[in-house]
């Protein structure tokens, strides 16, 4: 006897997951609750736990493969002998799924982050302006990191979820933009097997269409004949491998056309992980739908550097003799932006079709580079927090961001964000707004520059910042007021402590 282990549905929006690695090996003894594998969703890496005792049996899905929710990825056998025998079988068994509720998942750090230099940038390394990679936190509507494996949510609420996040389904957008459902049943992909009508199966077989690449429009996501017909008519585009062609990340050329521009063998193809795909979709959406404009000012951060040096030098020590804070320039930037948003409340807003959301608090996103992408956790109510609180909170958020352990509520929302590339000696740059935020501040390196002051050339430490504004929310003057308020605050850091 053996029980199948299936790709769990770790969030409402999850259609596929990538098997990152098997924590247990073929034949390993497994106790209920043991972590047996790690699965990457669009936003987080999650543990798949055993739901009963036994031995890990094959055939096991290969690591690194992306699979639809509900697909069998391995088995738990009752005896070690059976596990080995099972493992020897070449053909994967029928994808009979265990109910998703039986597989538990929990947040787990991602793969070891050897290459965490860029990530560390955010908390700074003594450079005048610590940096992070350009922003664009993927705001996917998943709360996967905390979610118990959930069965697809039913009912009208699920259908009316209004977040604009792109689905991670391998479907071309627009192909099935309005999923239909009879009754109140929401049509979410079912954590079962590929559900398809007999006729749909036969049509798919006859026409060589892969059912796995089709989103069903029938009850409970069942693939019906019409879905296969639709897939047939756009054959090739619908095949999972080619599906990305039509995703809104494209540029009018098919993958084949692009590859044809480069000689064979002159490149390798690295498959996108789901985070990369989300980043691409979100940024295309941002640039296509948000009218951006940019305002740049130079900030003299001489006083700020002095204040930072002073406060770090005099920081109290904990019992291990370590200073209890170590402020970075970025912490000052976060605080200054938070206060500026309070001084110019009209810019602390979010566009919605029905009206402007004017926020009471300043929730500032901070772009954190992580392996393979980036994410922008929010410092909530930053205007109310002291620099040391912001500093320590950022360190903690950045660490968890790199471990891909952030909860969705820790990065979804906010009105503005900071993206800092100062540590890479970038003088100035523009950043892409992370919807639904209305602005983002791109922070360059603080560097000594000659400046003219009262008719004389002096040397000052200048940091150039560029505010990207959503013109639907922030007009030119308003943006100028916001960046002006920021400049005033960052140049007089004593105001940040008031």
């Amino acid at each position: 006897m053996s029980e199948p282990i299936t790709m769990p549905a770790l969030s409402d929006t999850m259609n596929t997951g990538r098997l990152v690695k098997w924590v247990k090996k073929l034949g390993d003894a497994i106790k209920k609750g043991d972590t047996i594998a790690e699965v990457e969703t669009d936003k987080a890496v999650m543990e798949v736990d055993a739901f009963h005792d036994g031995y890990l049996a094959g055939p096991l899905a290969p690591e690194g493969t992306e699979m639809p929710v509900g697909k069998v990825i391995g088995y738990i056998a009752d005896s070690p002998g059976e596990a080995v025998a099972k493992g020897a079988q070449a053909t994967p068994a029928a994808p009979k799924a265990a109910p998703p509720e039986t597989v538990r998942a929990a947040g787990v750090p991602a793969q070891e982050d050897e290459d965490s230099k860029a990530a560390a940038a955010v908390v700074g390394k003594g450079a005048p302006a610590p940096a992070a990679k350009p922003p664009a936190a993927p705001a996917k509507t998943t709360d996967a990191p905390t979610a118990q494996s959930t069965s697809p949510q039913r009912g009208e609420v699920a259908r009316s979820a209004s977040l604009p996040a792109q689905s991670s389904s391998p479907l071309p957008a627009g192909e099935k933009s309005a999923p239909k459902a009879p009754g109140e049943e929401a049509r979410t992909s079912h954590a079962d097997r590929v559900s398809a009508s007999p006729l749909a199966r036969r049509l798919a077989t006859d026409s060589g269409v892969d059912l796995a690449g089709i989103q069903g429009s029938g009850p409970h996501g069942r693939i019906v004949a019409a879905d296969v017909e639709a897939a047939k008519s756009s054959k090739g585009v619908m095949a999972p491998a080619a599906a990305e062609v039509a995703a809104p990340t494209g540029h009018g050329m098919s993958d084949q056309q692009i590859r044809a521009l480069y000689p064979d063998g002159s490149y390798e193809i690295v498959p996108h992980d789901s985070m990369r795909r989300i980043i691409a979709q979100r940024l295309v959406q941002s640039n296509l739908t948000i009218p951006h404009f940019y305002l740049t000012v130079d900030c003299d951060i001489g006083k700020l550097l002095a204040a930072r040096e002073e406060s770090n030098r005099t920081a109290p020590q904990d019992k291990d003799g370590k200073p209890i804070w170590k402020l970075s320039v970025n912490d000052f930037v976060i605080k200054a932006l938070a206060l500026a948003l309070q001084r110019v409340p009209d810019a602390n807003a979010t566009w919605t079709e029905s009206g402007m959301l004017k926020h009471r608090h300043s929730d500032v996103g901070v772009a954190v580079a992580i392996k393979g992408g980036l994410i922008a956790p929010l410092v909530r109510n930053a205007e109310t927090k002291s620099l040391s609180v912001i500093s320590n909170e950022m360190k903690e958020l950045a660490a968890r961001a790199r471990a891909r352990k952030l909860k969705s509520e820790e990065y979804l929302g906010g009105a503005s964000a900071v993206s800092n590339l100062g540590m890479f000696a970038i003088k100035d740059f523009t950043a892409v707004i992370n919807p639904p935020q209305a602005t983002i501040l791109a922070v360059g390196a603080g560097e000594e520059r000659p400046i003219a002051r009262s008719g004389k050339i002096e040397v000052a430490t200048i940091m150039t910042v560029t505010l990207s504004c959503d013109h639907r929310v922030v007009d030119g003057v308003l943006g100028a007021q916001l960046i002006g308020a920021f400049k005033a605050l960052i140049e007089q850091p004593v105001l940040l402590a008031v």
Partner: protein
């Protein structure tokens, strides 16, 4: 007491709704219940009978009449079953009385369902002043207890479910005395000796069956070459043979050109293949189809698009005017109660934003309750051939079905049509005893998109008439067992 009055007052004051449905036939009242289930504040306007034609003057009372006829038929043939039934007779008024009682019971049932689902019933004639505004004028019939009265009502969405009425052809206008529609045909005061039925659709054929079984001399005149024109030709031919055996005279390709009304009979002039003949009969039933009730609703002024005698709608039953919808007979064929019900549900779910699948009209079954019964779903053989579909046909006669023989119901045929490439069941057509109860097996199969394989592998219980359904599928693939 005062509490009670307050309640009444507040109900009286209720004039604003999410959904107002005009017409309480099977389409309207089912839509109202579904609307209430979805949380909509719902009202239904009715001018004459809760339950509409179907419950009161259509589907249901005719089934009661036909049941009487069927039992009478069995009693006449008691001897064949080893039974004796002497002096078998009937009382026309008692048959009609039973039929009316059945209708009354279901009519009350609709009232109960409206109450249970907190759907307000507004009594009167509805007129749509503008999207969102309905004026209800007094109607001639008496309002049931608890109904709201005439007045102005507001509704975010207005669903027209006003149904249809008998079509009137020039020269054969019904007069309620000699020339009947189904209204009069349903409540005869005595059995006419002879009856001419114009039209051989479901209504005409059911009345032909009823009156013939009870002894009337029945002639059916059909302008088309085939009786039951929407049915598969082969099935219609089997039925025709059976009707003629029962003594029903059938004239196809024939047209009634003139009705000469005498004091208690009618002389009809009938043209058939260039030849003219006259038939004298006591009564005439005009069963030449129905037309949608699109009048007096204010549609012209609102600019609601109509096509001939129906309201034009999209696949979710929206008219061209936002906020106004039409379902059931008034929104076009097939004019069947179950089509209206399903359409209403789809319509209201679409309004709710549930993204229902539109109704697939090829999967609406049709049933005629004559003897033998007719039932069908999907494409006929002719239609499949017209669509140039590559088809496989399977047939199985009732005379090779054990249960049919035991029942003494050997006249019957099951016919199935598959797409020969995909194995999709395109259509199923049946004539014989109880086939109206059997067809749903195929309807479910079609909706689930089964292929011949699933049908072949399905276990059908023995001994049942349904085995003929299995055998017909097997026959389409050369695998029938009992023939």
């Amino acid at each position: 007491m005062s509490m009670l009055r307050m309640q009444e007052t507040s109900e009286m004051a209720e004039t604003s709704f999410d959904i107002v449905i005009i017409g309480s036939g099977p389409g309207g009242y089912v839509t109202a219940i579904r609307a209430a289930q979805l949380g909509f504040k719902t009202a239904i306007v009715e001018r004459a009978y809760l339950g509409g034609i179907c419950l009161n003057w259509g589907c249901i009372p005719t089934k009661a009449l036909l049941r009487s006829a069927e039992i009478f038929h069995y009693m006449q043939h008691a001897k064949e079953f080893g039974l004796s039934a002497e002096k078998v007779g009937y009382d026309t008024s008692a048959i009609v009385k039973r039929s009316r009682a059945v209708s009354k019971r279901l009519n009350d049932g609709v009232g109960f369902l409206m109450k249970k689902n907190k759907v307000s019933v507004i009594w009167g004639e509805a007129f749509i002043d503008a999207p969102g505004k309905v004026t209800v004028k007094p109607s001639k019939s008496e309002a049931p207890k608890g109904a709201l009265g005439p007045g102005s009502y507001q509704a975010k969405h207005i669903i027209i479910a006003t149904g249809a009425r008998p079509r009137v052809l020039p020269g054969i206008e019904p007069d309620k005395k000699l020339v009947w529609t189904y209204f009069e045909a349903m409540v005869p005061d005595r059995m006419p000796k002879s009856l001419l039925i114009i039209g051989s659709g479901a209504i005409g054929i059911e009345f032909a069956s009823f009156y013939r079984t009870l002894g009337a001399d029945v002639t059916v005149v059909e302008v088309l070459p085939q009786i039951l024109p929407v049915e598969d030709a082969e099935i219609a031919a089997v039925a025709r043979k059976s009707f003629e055996k029962q003594g029903i005279k059938i004239l196809t390709n024939a047209k009634v050109t003139k009705l000469d009304k005498k004091s208690d009979n009618v002389i009809a002039t009938i043209e058939e293949g260039g030849k003219s003949q006259t038939i004298t009969s006591e009564r005439v039933i005009s069963a030449v189809g129905v037309v949608g009730n699109i009048e007096n609703l204010g549609l012209e002024k609102l600019g609601v698009k109509t096509e001939r005698d129906i309201i034009a709608v999209d696949q979710f039953n929206k008219t061209n005017v936002p906020g106004i919808y039409a379902i059931g007979d008034v929104s076009g064929p097939p004019m069947l109660a179950h089509k209206a019900e399903h359409e209403g549900v789809v319509c209201i779910e679409a309004i709710k934003g549930l993204h229902p699948h539109p109704m697939n009209k090829l999967m609406i079954p049709g049933c005629t309750y004559c003897s033998p019964q007719i039932a069908s779903v999907g494409l006929t053989e002719q239609a499949a051939k017209e669509k140039k579909q590559d088809i496989r046909i399977g047939r199985f006669p009732f005379m090779a079905n054990g249960k049919a023989i035991a029942l003494g119901e050997e006249q019957g045929l099951v016919k199935v049509i598959f797409d020969s490439k995909t194995g999709q069941l395109l259509g199923a057509h049946m004539v014989g005893a109880e086939v109206t109860e059997l067809i749903q097996g195929y309807v479910v199969a079609m909706n689930l998109e089964t292929t011949e394989e699933e049908l072949m592998r399905t276990v059908f219980p023995h001994p049942t008439l349904s085995e003929a359904m299995h055998e017909a599928v097997l026959n389409a693939y050369g695998r029938a067992l009992n023939i």
